[in-house]
Structure formats: C-alpha cells, structure tokens
C-alpha cells in the first residue's frame, strides 16, 4: 500500500490549513471553568426516609453546571471518529462491498466491513444480530461497513464512497404476513415466529357459554422510539497488552461485555467497560450497538476511536418499542362481571430478537389487566419483519396491553350502560386474588387507588367531571 501513515496525512492537513498566527497560539487548554465546591457526600448506611421527602440527586449539580462528561464530551489523545454506513434497503443479499475509494481518502485511517468481525452475531437472548451485516441485510438501519477518520466530516464523506452491491429481496413488513407458514423464513433456519407464549386458566369456552354478552375488539399500537436526548455513543482504546477499554452509554455493562467478548473473540477478562453517565436510556441502551465497531476500528488503526449516533441513526438503527396487534374477546355477566377473556397478541419484532422474549412474556402475563378473570386464554406471538428492531422500552409490553384492555373496558361499560369506574371496581383484583399465572397476590390496592384517583380529579360518573 502506498498510503501515507495517517499521522503524516493529518499533520500535513493541519499545517496546510493553519496560518502563522494560528501556529503561534498557545497550545489548546481547557478553559477555566468555575467549580463552586460544596462537597456532597452521602453518608454510608444512611437511611433516607422516602415518603414525603423531596428527591434530590447528587449528580444534579454537575448536570446544572454543564460539567457532567457524557461520551461525546470526552476526547482521548489521538482519537479518531467513526461513522457507520447504513444499508438503506430493508431486505437484500450483499453481493460485494468495495471500500477502496474510502480507504484512499486523506484522513481515513481504518475501514472495516462485516467480514472483519470475528464472530458476527450477538443478542441478549437469540444471537441473531450481526455487528455489521455481511451476507444479508435485514432492515434499512443495518450497518454494512464502518470508517475511522481524523474528523467526523471526513468519516461521513468516506462512508459515501463505499460501494455496496445488493440483490434486493422482497421485504416482509406486515407481521401478519410473517405469521403465515408459507412466508419464507426471514432468518432461516430460525422460524419467523421466534417467540410464543400461552397462559391458560379455567375454561374459556364454559365462561363464554355463561356470558350475557360477548365483546370483541382489535387494538393496535405503533412503533415508538426512545429518543434519548443523548445519542448512543462509545469510545474504544486498546493497550499494547491487548486489553480493551470501552467507554460506553450502555445501561447493562455486564451483559454488554459478554456480547463484546463474543463478537471480538476476546476473553471478558481483557475487556473493561466504563459506563459513563447516560443521557437518557428508557430501555433503549440495553444492548451493544457501536461498541464492537469502535473496538475493531481502534485495533486496526492503533488509536482510540469514538462513534456517536446521529439522530437519524438513533431512529433507524437502535431498538424501538414493539408495535402490537391485540385481539380481545371478553364475555361478561349482565352486571358487567368478566366471566371469560380470550386474547391474541401479535408482536412485530422487527429485524432482530433483542429483548422480545421478555416483552412477549410480560405483555402476555399482564394482558388480562388488573382484573379477576377465572377463565382466561392468552396467546402471544412475536415475529420477524424487515423493520427496525424492537426491544426493551419502559414497561416491556405492559403499556400496549393496557391500552387494549382499558379501551375494551370502556366499550363494555358504554354498551352495558355501567359507569366506567363501577365496572372496574366490580372486576378489580383483591387481596389474595390469583394472577393469570396463578400467583397469589398481596398488597393489592387497585380499588383504593381507583377511588382515590376518582376523588382527586372529581369523577362524576359517565365520563363527566364534577
């Protein structure tokens, strides 16, 4: 290779662009930043009374001073900036990746593709996600190559010079199409339905037979992005003994370390992860994203490498909340008591499993609502589609099913001309009630909570406020 060493290219670029005055300027130093130090030291084993106390946070002062160092505020000497090339196509076979032109760009120090990843698969449960797609693209936000360069701008221009040849494959975007047996396996040999759960209690057929009326409804929720204000980011740096340090926005560093170890083929004992203060997680920073990429680029370049997601990448390439299609069939007595409920949930899992299994389980268990239902059949499926992957997000499926069962509760109340509060009081779980999975429940205060809430905002029956 005739390429000049990166350091030389960079130095030349600097010398060329700086004028004499600039050269005479004193070396860059961090400005004087006032730190009014009134030391906050929480006392060990101090028992803080929680109730009726204002919650303050010891890190709040640094936040307010603008002195908290998030990843993007950090710089290591000689650090390079990485950008990841995104597929931009929902489903395709990768025929070739040509990185020559990008590698030849001045200021570009290292380029990697999926073929450079030692073990190109990871995931919190199923190991179905590649670090960078090598043979197959499963959603438009998949990374296919990455560049480390002396500036972010050069890295961004370099990824545009990478040419990827695709053979498009018809994408499956509708979860119901994915659910059909005849739809070809998206992740062969994995089946399209990659998670399934059933909860049975009592006898729903008998319950429906005894019902005064049966209500059926279908409810849908949309995909939701966490949108943490701080985008995903990480910095990797190796020492000459082959030890890797990663600064990362990861929320679950021990789990992340296992995945990093797997993908890099480096023992966990050689990997140190420094979890910095996270600028918003909400479940979206529970798995690795850029970490193996920066680690590989840092190894190839011999310099620390940072990668920060752009806001568009945050939407396209990080996890989201599962969209659900929820079919509810509920049989009730003349008084409005729920006698039987049959539920089918279809979770659109997107391109990869991520935390789908946890979400599937929680959505299924909670799908009956906080109500005493003796005859219950709840079934949930999670399927692959060629969309942004879904994963953990606040509540793991609980908010989606809440929307369904409470919407149907209102429909039933309206149809039977019962006050919406009354019908909930009638059916709510009590002390000692059994959950859908037959767990005996304690400290159950659904009714008390409902009554207090109704009183607080002046509930006057029939949807009106007093």
């Amino acid at each position: 290779m005739e390429k000049k060493p990166a350091a030389v290219v960079e130095r030349e670029a600097r010398v060329e662009t700086r004028d004499v005055v600039e050269m005479l300027r004193a070396p860059a130093a961090a400005p004087l930043v006032p730190l009014p130090l009134e030391v906050l030291v929480p006392e060990a084993r101090q028992q803080t009374p929680a109730v009726r106390q204002r919650a303050t946070r010891p890190d709040c002062r640094l936040h307010g001073l603008g002195q908290t160092k998030y990843i993007d505020d950090m710089y290591l000497p000689g650090m390079l900036y990485a950008k990841i090339k995104r597929a931009g196509i929902a489903s395709a076979r990768i025929l070739s990746v040509d990185t020559k032109e990008a590698e030849a760009m001045p200021g570009v120090v290292a380029v990697i593709t999926g073929r450079d990843v030692p073990v190109n698969s990871f995931g919190p449960s199923l190991k179905d996600q590649p670090v960078l797609a090598d043979e197959r693209v499963f959603h438009a936000g998949d990374g296919v190559a990455a560049v480390a360069a002396v500036t972010e701008q050069i890295a961004a221009e370099a990824i545009e010079k990478i040419k990827v040849e695709y053979e498009p494959i018809r994408p499956v975007l509708d979860p119901f199409e994915s659910l059909k047996l005849e739809t070809p396996g998206l992740h062969a040999p994995n089946p399209n339905i990659y998670g399934h759960k059933v909860i049975k209690k009592g006898d729903v057929a008998k319950g429906f037979a005894e019902s005064y009326r049966i209500f059926e409804g279908s409810y849908r929720t949309q995909m939701v992005e966490h949108v943490p204000l701080e985008p995903h980011a990480s910095i990797a740096t190796w020492d000459p003994n082959g030890r890797l340090t990663i600064y990362s926005t990861l929320g679950r560093i021990t789990l992340g370390r296992a995945d990093i170890s797997r993908t890099l083929g480096v023992p966990m004992s050689r990997i140190r992860i420094i979890a910095t203060i996270v600028g918003g997680n909400f479940g979206g920073k529970n798995e690795i994203t850029t970490e193996p990429v920066v680690a590989l680029l840092a190894k190839k370049s011999g310099r620390p490498v940072k990668c920060t997601f752009t806001r568009p990448e945050e939407f396209a390439s990080s996890t989201t909340r599962h969209p659900l299609v929820m079919d509810y069939k509920t049989g009730v007595s003349r008084e409005g008591r729920i006698l039987a409920r049959q539920i089918r949930l279809v979770l659109d899992g997107g391109a990869y499993c991520s935390w789908s299994e946890t979400t599937l389980g929680k959505a299924c268990i909670l799908s009956a609502g906080p109500y005493q239902i003796d005859n219950l059949y709840a079934e949930a499926f999670v399927v692959y589609t060629n969309k942004t992957m879904t994963g953990a997000m606040r509540g793991f499926g609980a908010p989606q099913v809440c929307f369904a069962y409470e919407s149907q509760m209102d429909d039933i109340a309206t149809a039977l001309n019962i006050d919406p509060l009354e019908i909930r009081m009638l059916n709510a779980l009590k002390e000692g009630s059994l959950s859908p999975t037959s767990q005996k429940l304690h400290s159950v205060v659904v009714r008390e909570t409902l009554l207090q809430a109704a009183q607080r905002f002046g509930w006057n029956g029939n949807g009106a406020r007093s």
Partner: protein
C-alpha cells in the same frame, strides 16, 4: 455538514453581486436565520449540498419595520421574535404576532427570519396565510434591479418561489389598503410547540358599518395545497354579504372546496378538510371580534 465556502454580504447590493458571481458556476444557498437551511444541510446528500453559502445575516438594511407611503414595510431579515415584539405590528396586525408565535420555539424564533420563512415556501408556512390574506407584496432585488409581486404569486409550489438564483428577497409590504384591516390567524398542529401546521388559516375583512356587511373579505389557507391559496369561492360568497354566523359557517363549507389537501403521516385529507371548515369559520369570527373591538375603541 459538508464543506462549503461562506461569503458574508455587507448589504443587499453586495449580496446580489455575490449571488450573481457564484450562481453561474456553483450551487449557492442564501443563509439568513439558518433555521431551515442549516437543518437541511446537516443531512443533505452530495447532490443537494451547496458549494457556496452567501451569508446575509449581517445585512443591516433589511431589518426595519416601518410605515411608509406604500404601506407597512417589513425587512426580510426581521426575525419572528422581532415581529412579536414590534408595537407597530402588535397594534395593527395581532394576527401576525400570533402567527409568528406559532413558529418553532424561542430559540428558532430568535434566529429565524420572516424572509427566510417565506422563501423556504413549505405549504404549511406559518407566516404565509396572514400576509396573503392582507394582499401583501414582496420586493426582490436582482442584477437587473428591483421587482415587486403579490406574495400569493411569489409562492409557486412546495419549496418553490418565483425567486431566481441571483435574486434576493428584500422586503414584505402590506399595502395601505390593508393597514389595520381586522385579521385573524389560526393554526392547528399536533402539539402546541414546534409543530407543523396540519392546516393554518387567516381571514381578513373590512366591515361596512352602515350595512354590517363584509367588505374585501380574504381567506388564505395553508398546508392544504401545494402553496398558500386564497379560498376564492368563499371570498366571493362573502363579498357584500351581511355579517352573520350562518354566513361564516357557509364560508367555511365553501373554503373546503377551495382546498386540495393531501393525506400524509400527520393527517388524512378528510381530516384536513374538516379542519378547513372549522378554522375558516373561527378565523372569520375572530376577525369580526377584532373589528368590533376596534370600533368600540373609537
């Protein structure tokens, strides 16, 4: 952002000279407040990105708000915040203040300019309907000199104006015939702050006091056609008609026919049509309230 050269214009003539110099050989963009331009350029493709940016944000001769012999003149670089705080505008056209208030948030209103908002010419442009309803004119400067045209004709289509690559928008003029004309602007967005309008409407008319009738009624609709449009059928219906709630309802109904909304991820065309009917009626009511208040002042 991709690399580009920045040339800072000292005054409007200099800006036009810079545009003329570079427009022939390079892709040139004009930078005023930057709230639209820089946001666009952050993720622009290579084919879309400019080589040259002419920065007009330091030009001092495009910042005045003044009543001249021709009407109320507002310089193209007047920011939305300056519009909101101008006693002159607040007194004459509270609708303009309301419209400016619905644009972006404090930070973007401090930077964003009236001229920039109009030149960007998105169909939902929030400063558009009020000015179109007031029959505003725009003055542009090019190598051949100045020319003036109605704002309604300055808008050509989505993100398209009659401005040539070497021309600069100088001022917005509300003609003397519209000065103090009771006008109401209403916007419906999915949030209160930083929202794009699903529909925005401005209504404006004089009141014939003897007959209590509509005179020179104007209704301008935004976000329901490729550009801000007059609800001509509704305007024709109201002209000379006695002011009554039923007439306003009917004008709203007719305005729906003047709109050509599309369905997108923000709202369906059907929903937008309903909004046109309701917002047009409310805007007419609002303008009438203003007219009555002005009468009682005198």
């Amino acid at each position: 952002m991709r690399a580009f050269d920045v040339f800072t214009a000292k005054d409007s003539r200099h800006a036009v000279a810079l545009l003329a110099e570079h427009a022939a050989t390079s892709k040139v963009k004009v930078l005023a407040g930057g709230t639209d331009l820089l946001a666009d350029l952050k993720f622009a493709s290579a084919s879309h990105a400019p080589d040259v940016v002419v920065d007009i944000s330091r030009i001092e001769d495009l910042r005045s708000i003044a009543v001249t012999g021709d009407g109320l003149s507002i310089g193209a670089l007047v920011t939305h915040t300056e519009i909101m705080r101008s006693p002159l505008i607040r007194d004459m056209f509270p609708a303009m203040v309301n419209a400016a208030h619905t644009i972006g948030a404090v930070q973007t209103r401090n930077l964003g300019t009236l001229g920039g908002n109009l030149v960007t010419a998105v169909p939902s442009v929030d400063s558009g309907p009020t000015l179109v309803a007031l029959d505003a004119l725009v003055t542009v400067l090019g190598p051949a000199g100045r020319r003036q045209m109605p704002l309604a004709e300055f808008f050509v289509g989505p993100r398209k104006t009659a401005l040539k690559p070497d021309e600069l928008l100088l001022e917005i003029l509300i003609p003397t015939t519209s000065l103090g004309k009771p006008t109401c602007f209403l916007k419906f967005g999915l949030r209160k702050g930083q929202a794009l309008a699903l529909v925005n409407v401005a209504a404006s008319f004089w009141v014939d006091r003897a007959r209590n009738a509509f005179v020179a009624p104007r209704i301008a609709l935004g976000a329901v056609a490729p550009k801000v449009v007059h609800a001509s059928t509704a305007e024709a219906y109201l002209e000379g008609r006695a002011i009554a709630p039923e007439a306003m309802v009917e004008a709203g109904r007719l305005a729906v026919g003047d709109a050509k909304p599309i369905s997108d991820f923000r709202a369906s065309a059907e929903y937008r049509r309903d909004l046109v009917a309701v917002l047009t009626r409310r805007a007419l009511e609002g303008a009438y309230e203003l007219a009555k208040a002005k009468q009682s002042e005198k």
